[in-house]
Each structure stands twice: as C-alpha cells, then as structure tokens.
Symmetry: C2
Subunit: 428 residues, 2 copies
Amino acid sequence: MKPIKVGMLGLGTVGTGVVRIVEGHQEDLVRQIGTAVEISRILVNDVTKNRSISIPQERLTEKVEDILHDPDIDVIVEVMGGLEPTKGYVMEALAQGKHIVTANKDLLALYGTEIMAQAHEYKRDVMYEASVAGGIPIIRTLTEGFSSDRILKIMGIVNGTTNYILSAMSREGAAYADVLKEAQGLGYAEADPTSDVEGLDAARKMTILSRLGFHVNVELSDVSVKGISSVTREDIAYGKTLGYEVKLLGIAERTGDGVSVSVEPTMVRLNHPLASVSGVFNAVYVFGESVGETMFYGPGAGELPTATSIVADLVTVAKNLRLDVNGSQLPLRYQEKKLRSPEQIVSKYFLLLRVADRAGVLARITQIFADYKVSLESVFQHPNASTSHAEIIVITHNATKAGMQQVLEEFGKLDVVHEIRSVYRVEG
Amino acid sequence: MKPIKVGMLGLGTVGTGVVRIVEGHQEDLVRQIGTAVEISRILVNDVTKNRSISIPQERLTEKVEDILHDPDIDVIVEVMGGLEPTKGYVMEALAQGKHIVTANKDLLALYGTEIMAQAHEYKRDVMYEASVAGGIPIIRTLTEGFSSDRILKIMGIVNGTTNYILSAMSREGAAYADVLKEAQGLGYAEADPTSDVEGLDAARKMTILSRLGFHVNVELSDVSVKGISSVTREDIAYGKTLGYEVKLLGIAERTGDGVSVSVEPTMVRLNHPLASVSGVFNAVYVFGESVGETMFYGPGAGELPTATSIVADLVTVAKNLRLDVNGSQLPLRYQEKKLRSPEQIVSKYFLLLRVADRAGVLARITQIFADYKVSLESVFQHPNASTSHAEIIVITHNATKAGMQQVLEEFGKLDVVHEIRSVYRVEG
C-alpha cells in the first residue's frame, strides 16, 4: 500500500521532535493506520545549517512551492508558527488538496473561520490537538470522547505562565512584580509578557475550545478578557483565608442557545479540582449534560508533549485518508451565534472594599446590594487601626454581571467607599 | 454504503442508554464514520416485557444464536455483565467474526488474555472504554493519545465507593463503619461491600490499565491488594495534620523492564492532584517519559457516562471496519512479564506506633530503622497522659518494601512497641 506522504513547514524543536517520533515509531504507525508514514519534504530557512538530527539534504527545501505543489504530498504539518506567511501557506495547501496538522493557536483563533471554510470547500482535514494545552488530548476528547454529549461549561487553566505566577504568589506570599521577574529569569515568562499576563494567549485558546465544545463560531473579539497584572498578594491572602485560590480561568458557558466566553482572574474554591492545579501545568474542566464533571490535567507546553500531540493528529488524518472521510469532522455546521448579555451571565462574586471606618457604613453598602437584588453569602469587616479605613470583604450569592456592574457604579458615587480594591468572579 | 449492524447482549439501563444515543445521534455517527450504524438485534430475557423505550419487538430476541450466528451483524455490544455465560458468548462471537464492545471489567480482568488471544486469532476488535472509570476516556488516552510515549507510572482512584467513604471520613471525622452504613443507605455501597472495600474491584481495573500502559500481560493475581476496612479516623486525622489525605490508590509502576501493581490505602500529599479527588469521582494519574505528569478526572460510573463511552467505542470499531484495520490495536505483542520484587519496590512510608512512654524507646526504634537502612524524613512523638502509651508517627524517606517488612518484623519482637497501629505507603 502507498505510504502517506507528509510535508513539514518548519524544523525547530517541535518539528525535530515530530521527525524523531515518526521515524522511531514506524512499526507502531503501520499497526495503527495500515500503511507507512513518511516525512518526505521539509521547509527550512537554510538547507545547509547544522542540525541535531541527520536528515538527507534532498528532503530539505527553502522553497515552499516544493511542498505545496508536490502532488505526492498528502498532509502538511505546520510548525513554523506566526500568522504571515503561515496563513497564506495553509490556505494554498488546502487549495492544493492537502490536509493540515498544526500547533498554531494564534492562526486558528484569528483565522479559524476562513481556514475551516477553505478546508470545507476542498474537503480536507485541519487538526490542531497541540494548539491548546500541548500534552493534554483535550481536542480529541471534546470531538470524540464526548461526541454524543451536550457540553454546558468549559473552564480552563490554559496558560502556564500566569498559573506559574499565581501559584508562586500564593505559595510565597510574594508580589506580582517580583514573581514575574523571577519567572522571566527562569524562562517561564517572556521579556514582553503582555500576551500571557493580560490573558490574550488564554483567550485565543478559549476561542478554539468554545467553538469545538458549543458548535458556535466564537471569535476572539467575543471573549471578555482580563489579565492578572492587578492581582495583589492581599487578594490572594484574603482568598486563602476564605477557602479560595486565585486562578486565571478561561470560562466558556452555554445556557439555552446563548454562549459567553471570558478570561479573568477567578476565586476558585479549594475543593474544586482546578484549585490545586499549580505551576506551569494546564487543566481543562468540562461539564457535559450526560457525563457531568470531568477534568483533564497535564503539561501545557514543551517540545515532547507538543510533538506527541502532533503525531497523534497525523495518525488521525492518515486514518481518515484511508477511510475517505476527510473533512467530515470540521466544526462547520455552526449554530447561530447568540452571545449572552450581562443580564444572562450569572456567578458569585468576591469584593474587597476600603471604606470609612465609622458607624452606618456597612448598612449603606448592604442596602445598595439589596437595591440591585444582589444577595450576600457572607460579609467580613476588618477595622484597620493604623488608618482611617476599614476593609470589607463580600462574597455574593449568584448575581448577574449586569447587577454587579450597577452595584459597583453606585459604590463609585459613595463618599464612604474609599476604594473598590478588587472584584473577582467566584467558581466552585 | 452498507450500514454497520450491531447486535446487543442485554438491555438494562446502560443498554437502553446506548440505544437512545445511537438513535438520537445518527447524523453525527454518519458524519464521523461515513456510514450509518444500526442496532439490529438485542438479546433480552423476556421479549414481551414493558420497557422505557419503544423498540420493535422483532428486533428483540431471547435466543443468543439469533445474534451470534447472524452473518449480517458486524459488532456485538455486551452489556449483560457477569462472567458466565457472558464469556462463552464473547468467545463465540469472536469466532463468528464479530467485533466486541464491552463495559465488563470483571470479564476483562479475569479472562482478558484468553479473549484477546481469540480476538487476535480472528483479527477482531475488543473495545472496553467503559470498563474503567466510566466517563473518563482513559483507555482511548492510553492507546491513542500517548501511543508514542513510554508510560512509567499509573496511579488511579478507580473505585467510587471507597473514595466516597474515605472522603466522608476525612470531611466529617467519622468512623469507617458509620460512613459505610451511610453509603449503603445512599446506594453508593452495596449490601455486601466486600468487592469494593477490600480493593478487588480496583484491582481488576488496575489489571486492565497496567496491561495497556506497560504492554505486559499483568494478571489479577499479580496485584498486591489491601482494602480500606482497617483505615481509622485517627489515621486520617494524623495524615491531615501532616499534609496528607488517605486515598485508596491503584499503583502500577515500571522501572527498567520490571513492573509492579498494587491497590492500597495511601497517604497522598495534599499538593498532589489526586489528593483533591473526592466523593464518588474517579481519577487516573499517568506519568509518561515524554509527556510528564497528566491526570484525567471524572465520573467513575453512571448510566449516561457509561453509555457515552460505549458509543465512542462503537464509532472506533466502525471506523476500523471501514479501514480494514480491525484487531490491529490489540495489546498482543506483550513484553515478557517481570514482576518487581519487594527489594525493587521503593516508596516513602507513614507509620503510627504505640510505644511504652519511657526514656530510650525512641532511640531503640530509630536504631532499627537504621539497621535496615531506612532513613527517616520526620518523626513525631505524642505523649498520651491518659494511658501508658506514647504515639510515634514516622515518615520515612524512600525505602524498599523488603526493608520496611524487616523493620516491621523487628518492631513485632520489641516489648516497648505495644502496637503497630498503621502502615501506609506515601505518594506525592
């Protein structure tokens, strides 16, 4: 039987891992697919460069056309990253009848709709297990394991950098800026950490997960995003006292036919499985109508976990090729997108207020909650001898996002409220 | 294209769930497989019985031959349970060229070798996602997601009853017998709870997982099993003070080419992801050479989670049928089985001793640890005013099982050691 031929765009660390796994596991691949898999051509910047693996030079090329226009190549593994020229290559590869395996979350989050439409037109596969939570087979789980369930909620710790920072702040009682510097020193955060710490990376991944989970064409711009740069050690300490860990959660929810997706620092109750996910680990919690609560935990990145996921995708594409069902698993028949309004988004909240330390203040504050029908689960007041402030911590019962926005607006007008220090969504 | 025809053995709650899912998701199944799936014949005890779903009576039969010898049937879904006559039906179905999907862990744990040999001879699939941790796609993950990794350790909370009991003891400070009674009242434990509380159910599941993870033909009799009936609330309270939760863990380990599998109550450090898995939930922790630490969490049983897993298996068999690669994923090329000896099994231990409350006792005890080269991580002594005992808690560094056995034997001979109250393996 004819072997499956693969062209690869890029040969960095992940690409090298893919070559190693494909060559080292031929027997296993044949056993699973029924035919061999061959990485026949690889796009590189410089064919003469020294590499950590020996690859016959005729298999390397600097011209992308050698791969995109080679009629023998069935599948393209895209591990060059970036948005351009990558997107153009992927669109052209699909038009040339090739299937795509990619780890490129930015490409999928931003141009997923276009790429999927192209894949649909040419009946090709686009697989991207490695794009979210590298070592966790979460895409496979959402599309196959839960294919006959209705998913209602996905919550993910999908960014290792921010989870490392929050875990270290929690463990050491350290300040955000100090831990960020330490994380940069260790290589867990980039010199410009914006994309991670402001929640953009997590938002891209949640876009991908919510499209798959809800069959709705969620765009990056639909995601409400807040990062962790304003999280204080004080918030974390108060949270701990009350039984919560602060985590940057991606939260995708569906009620009726409405969906909402957000990324925000969240107080997670200690008995929730997400609360104990620490360091650079990732975890995705899925609530399905039939299956109930499940969670998948593992490394979010790394060369070997990522390459392992790419090869697993390659096996699926090769099987589909032999089945002649390529393109059939594209999430194309999206339902109409209805985003939930702030009146429809419901959760508990944690608030930390600095207020004037005098009689009647608590009564005025609780009256405002009552005015907007936000009921309270618990209220703590800490007088602070050294200042004129008292600190009030409030945990609400379920309240709408709209209701909370009105409450916060009213607090802004009250002279006895000196500062709204923190507002967190509460989960678990 | 010809539809895939399914015969089902049994029509209890899980079987009914399977029928509902297959009928309700036809469009989705066609999209994934490329052809329709039809449950064409079902074995029941009484075709005239009233049922919660309407099924044309001609699709029901009381004669198993109508299914096993129907040449049009491609796949058998076995949801009748039990060992006999189920095993005979499964063996005959394979001989008749049919593929098997089953949720029957007892059958697989006890007769897995025979059944797989039969499947191999006739080149048929045997799928059993629902047999371990019902709603968690752990079998799929071990065989597909990690197909190109080398798994070194699997630790599982794979029995919901015992996890419910231990969680309740921990939360409420209650005694084993009281919580067991409560669990029986709630339907979480059976009237005769032996198979669950003595660890046998967990041992069957660990047999299945360790075969898959290590490609070694582990038999049930290779598993060292200890249940939870001797766990006291005192153990749990001491554990908590020191930062541990007591969990019934299945532990399968590989070092070099040796494997060991056990089920035993274990002190799990609170920061380990398994420590926070509570109630009837299941979780499987997998450590792979490439992927590192991962964990999969979800419901261990229940009609809908189980039926969902069975249908996912049915999709895989149907795809394999169309690919003509059936039987290719059987774990047949087992490596030679080498069980690790007690000298090769290494872990930390937690010990609780009752000793004479007088000078020199601690010195004699620590000397025995030293004699057998077991070094200690920490030692706590609690004098007890109301008795002549003192309580000593020891947590060791890594020690061999053989070394610990010798230490315990020596303690048995010492008159100053009044009682070896508890011995736990420590993980995390």
